[in-house]
Subunit: 244 residues, 2 copies
DNA sequence: ACCTGAACACCGTTCAAGT
DNA sequence: ACCTGAACACCGTTCAAGT
């Protein structure tokens, strides 16, 4: 800073044109997305209405439409904002193991979703086009490619895996809100219901009721199991494709 | 028809106590569910609002609340109505093959969902409690049980499979509406987008762009692939559990 | 007991009018 | 160019009043 710069006016000066006490930050896409995410984090996705987001930014809903095409685009941007949080590994060396790195990406995807309530809902039925979501897809494909999974398999596998992680995270967020803080009340109801099922019509269900309802509560285990299922399946089909 | 039956009154007769031209059928849960399903079939799930359903039954929305606790219960009933359409195999003999029968149930579940637009959305994040949905779960568990899949695995597997089928069917219904009737327009856009990706940042994605976008269009194949992944994975973990 | 008109507290989106 | 008040055409749900 050169000494020739003019000093700023002292804060107690009331002269000149006065600014409002808290200058309203300019409306930008980023500010809108950030405000929406804050609402999602605090109250969940369905609270993030155009009106609520606008209100948080001290405007009316109509103002958002200058920066965002509509609610759907806002959700798309929200998704890509969360995708930015997913930890990705460096590009893998050729011939390396692909199963563990692939699982790692799935886990950090789940973690990123879990940090933002039921945000995973927006991933369902959407083809990712944002830069961050594409980076995740690139990472997964690169891992499989380097590990020798043939493109025929990997291009399907990435769809299956993304669907799996998104859907699981969404289900988990749902049951997280249903179990509420204490946890056992809703669980007890479900368990009692399954245990009371007529044995003639639902013999297997009734016999496995204990294990079924217990599995609902141990989400981490459930995710790891299903992740194993996915990756084992991909591996089996890779062996098929290579061997046959 | 016996000859003693009275002739119906001629349509031009104005005598007797006249009924309104089309007697309003009494409001029942079944009638409400059926009306809702008709709207779903014609216009999709989001058109099936309480108001629209009521209108189809010639009443106001308030009248529905005598028979249905609210929108959520209506969706639950709608789901169970569709679950009734899923074809289930007879109880399996012990020691039989479980993989093919299990796949068959998944396929007919998908088919039932596909018959009703985006109905699969209501399966997401919901623990099934209706009689028909429970019958599907019972069938799947019975198949795995008879085939020697240990309960540890099958109780998780049923969650993973239900999630997979529901989420896949929902995604397929979404892209069915996005592809519209003609099909290629949206596909072309997506393909062009993927092909134009910067090579330095998305090398694998760009290289596999052709295959990736082609896979989006061949839904049947994609479903069969993912179903294979699931079942292979379950089999691999079953072998683990038995062998280790 | 069953139904319902009207109202309440919301939505997403548009558009003419403002600066 | 950017913003916005007001309006439009909807939601799910409630409740007092009707039969």
């Amino acid at each position: 800073m050169s000494s020739g710069d003019a000093l700023p006016p002292p804060p107690w000066s009331a002269g000149g044109r006065r600014r409002p006490p808290r200058a309203k930050p300019p409306l930008t896409r980023e500010a809108i997305v950030e405000a929406a995410l804050a609402i999602v984090d605090a109250e969940g996705l369905e609270a993030a209405t155009m009106r609520r987001v606008a209100h948080a930014l001290d405007t009316g809903p109509a103002s958002l439409y200058q920066h965002v095409a509509g609610k759907d685009e806002l959700l798309e941007l929200l998704f890509d904002r969360v995708a930015a949080e997913i930890e990705l590994p460096p590009p893998p060396p050729p011939g390396g193991d692909w199963q563990e790195p692939l699982k790692a990406v799935c886990r950090s995807t789940r973690d990123a979703y879990a940090r933002h309530r039921d945000i995973a809902y927006v991933t369902l039925g959407r083809i990712p086009t944002g830069a961050n979501a594409l980076a995740v897809a690139e990472a997964m494909l690169a891992i499989m490619d380097a590990g020798g999974v043939p493109p025929d398999v990997s291009t399907y596998a990435i769809d299956a895996l993304s669907l799996f992680v998104g859907a699981t995270a969404y289900e988990e967020s749902i049951s997280a809100t249903q179990f509420g803080g204490h946890g056992s009340e809703y669980f007890e109801t479900v368990h009692a219901y399954f245990a009371a099922l007529p044995l003639e019509r639902f013999p297997t269900l009734a016999r496995l009721a204990d294990r079924l309802t217990r599995s609902e509560t141990r989400e981490g285990e459930r995710f790891e199991f299903a992740l194993d299922v996915q990756v084992c399946g991909i591996a089996a089909l890779t062996a098929d494709a290579s061997g046959g």
